[in-house]
């Protein structure tokens, strides 16, 4: 049954969608159609549930009837078990879409005497498939046969025949198997089922259990090769791909305001890009939540649906606290644009948190999400796990073009360098804003600055901000002789500046007056000189006149 991949680009490997959240993504469309798939794993790792979900979703979503042949649980138990997960088998059975057949193999009841084959099983299965025209079949767990029957040679031969028969029937089958010591399954089923093998695993690390799934092989198709965590919750199984296979989400160039007066101006573009993710980090009490609430408020004012995940405060507390600085979140909740979800991070494992986020996002369809703070999640997982969860979260949000703002509490370090939580996300985020304490003599001021902002110019200044009853305000930059001034230095610098300004003003006035005086003196001098000049001129004129007169007189005398 070697399968050769065609060169043709149009060729699409026929697949049956699994109906399991996320599994279709990593298998590139589902299980191989018309072939058996082996699902193996230890006890309690979700094999039965996964296969049941495959059948039920096949019926409800793709109208493909299915047969569930259980070698372990009686069909009533099975019905009950999956009912708790919201699947109503009884109805599907009544609609002739599903057949659940319990094959009981009781060693004590069976005696082997001579040659036999498993035609009985084939006939049962064939009858079930034919009676509802099933295209999906589950055999859970066929290895039980090995416990009930002695003749291994016959069994193996018959199993091989069974898988060939299933293929010939053209049904998409799932065969489950218990994990063996050195082999994938205890009885080496992987020898017979060679098209697609999936391993489920349930591990406990640091008292936190995580279920994982891995595709060991998938003939004729590309698939994700990593171990993907998966969850079993009220809606069944969902697999969370660690990352999408590609990074090719659409990006938006829309700019959205941060909501904090003054902060927008620190970005040359005037705000965040839509769909970007922003990290606000800082030590305790540096107003991270306040900034986050401002952003939420701003988004809600623009009728953008927003979800606020608070891992520290209850919604009521958050609303009350924000009211004290003039941010009214309650009205947005009433209007339906804002949802606040509070839970302790230790409530459940990281994966479940992620799933909760996913679900809420699916239900509410928000355009903005705030997670306050992500650093609290560290308490439930190791750095790697938190990081991988955040990568997946960010991936998912990016794919949906959701703007997200994280806050992160970092420990007070001397270096002001990133802490665990920051380190795990800093390379993932687009914009990183840090708020920090600037401690001086007897006072503490808050400063805000942008560490990075992908794709936009930004200010390099550390801006001081204050929080008053009226809200948060970024103060203008005050440049002193030794750099930017904050707090009381800013105040004293202001007073000093005022005084020097006044002095300067007085000086100018004094100088003005002096000039005025000098001008007056100058003018007086000019007047005096002019007078002198005039009198001299007059004297000269008199002299000239006298001369003339004298000359006239002498000439007259001569004539006579």
């Amino acid at each position: 049954m070697a399968y050769k991949k065609t060169k043709s680009q149009q060729f699409i490997f026929p697949k049956s969608p699994t109906g399991i959240d996320g599994l279709d993504e990593i298998t590139n469309g589902g299980f191989p159609k018309g072939r058996p798939t082996l699902i193996c794993g230890g006890a309690g790792c979700g094999k039965t549930l996964l296969s049941m979900q495959f059948l039920i979703k096949g019926i409800t979503e793709h109208n493909e009837p299915g047969v569930f042949m259980s070698f372990e649980e009686p069909s009533d138990d099975l019905t009950l078990n999956v009912k708790s997960l919201g699947f109503d088998i009884e109805k599907l059975k009544a609609d002739k879409k599903l057949i659940v057949d319990h094959v009981r193999v009781e060693r004590s009841e069976i005696e082997e005497a001579g040659e036999y084959d498993l035609d009985g099983l084939f006939i049962r299965l064939g009858h079930a498939i034919d009676s509802i025209k099933a295209t999906r079949v589950v055999l859970d767990t066929i290895e039980s046969l090995f416990g009930g029957l002695d003749n291994q040679a016959i069994l193996r031969a018959e199993l091989r025949r069974l898988f060939h028969w299933l293929k010939a029937k053209g049904v998409t089958a799932i065969v489950t198997g218990e994990r063996g010591e050195a082999t994938l399954t205890r009885q080496g089923l992987e020898e017979y089922v060679s098209d697609c093998v999936i391993v489920l695993d349930h591990r406990v690390i640091d008292q936190v259990s995580t279920r994982r799934l891995r595709i060991v092989k998938y003939r004729g198709s590309t698939h994700g090769t990593n171990e993907y965590p998966f969850l079993i919750d009220a809606d069944g199984i969902s697999v969370l791909p660690i990352t999408s296979l590609k990074l090719d989400n659409d990006v938006s160039s829309d700019i959205i305001s941060t909501g904090v007066p003054g902060l927008d101006e620190m970005f040359h573009s005037g705000g965040f890009y839509r769909g970007s993710n922003t990290l606000i980090s800082g030590t305790a009490g540096t107003a991270k939540t306040t900034i986050a609430s401002y952003f939420a408020n701003e988004q809600c004012n623009k009728n953008e649906k927003t979800i606020y995940f608070a891992f520290e405060e209850s919604p009521q507390q958050l609303i009350r606290n924000m009211k004290s600085i003039g941010v009214d979140l309650e009205k947005h909740i009433k209007k339906g644009t804002l949802q606040i979800h509070s839970s302790r991070p230790s409530l459940n494992g990281l994966e479940l948190h992620l799933l909760t986020l996913r679900k809420l996002i699916k239900e509410f369809q928000p355009t903005t999400i705030i997670i306050d703070p992500i650093s609290n999640l560290i308490t439930v997982g190791s750095q790697d796990e938190v990081r991988s969860m955040l990568v997946r979260l960010i991936d998912m949000l990016k794919a949906n073009n959701i703007t997200v703002l994280f806050t992160s509490l970092n420990k007070r370090t001397d270096k002001f360098r990133p802490d665990l939580a920051e380190e795990s996300v800093s390379s993932l985020v687009d914009i990183w804003i840090t708020v920090r304490d600037m401690e001086g003599i007897g006072e503490r001021n808050r400063g805000i600055f942008i560490v990075k902002a992908r794709g936009m110019g930004h200010s390099n200044q550390v801006r001081e901000f204050v929080i008053t009853d009226q809200g948060m305000e970024l103060l203008d930059v005050e440049l002193g002789p030794k750099g930017i001034l904050t707090g009381s230095e800013r105040q004293s610098h202001r007073i000093e500046k005022k005084m020097s300004d006044m002095k300067h003003q007085n000086e100018i006035i004094r100088k003005d007056r002096e000039i005025e005086r000098k001008r007056k003196a100058l003018e007086a001098n000019i007047e005096a000189l002019r007078n002198e000049f005039e009198s001299a001129e007059e004297e000269l004129n008199i002299l000239k006149a006298t001369e003339e007169l004298y000359a006239k007189l002498t000439s007259k005398k001569k004539k006579e």
């Binding site: 094959v103 009981r104 193999v105 005497a113 040659e115 035609d119 099983l121 006939i123 064939g126």
Partner: protein
């Protein structure tokens, strides 16, 4: 071959068509029954190819399967029944003439 008393031994033989194995099994069980249970047994043959829905009721996996319906508890013997000793042990029949 019976009828004075209600058959004390009710045996069912499940087969899937007239295969050599099923024919052999039928021959074998008839022989043993005549030998050890003469007059107090009944054998019913069920062909699953004709009645596939009957396979579920008695939890038939392998064919041929001989089911001892009565006396209780139900016992099953699979195979062509060529091993007489095992059949007798399986049916819990004590050989009359040891």
């Amino acid at each position: 071959m019976k009828k004075e008393v209600v058959a004390e031994w009710q045996l069912l033989l499940y087969i899937a068509g007239q295969t050599p194995k099923s024919i052999k099994a039928l021959e074998n069980i008839k022989k043993y029954a005549e030998e050890h249970l003469a007059g107090k047994y009944s054998i019913e043959i069920i062909d699953l190819l004709k009645n596939p829905q009957l396979a579920e009721g008695d939890q038939i996996l392998a064919v041929p399967t001989l089911v001892r319906k009565f006396p209780e508890p139900i016992r099953k013997i699979i195979g062509d029944l060529s091993n007489e000793e095992r059949v007798l042990v399986g049916l819990n029949i004590k050989p009359l003439n040891p």
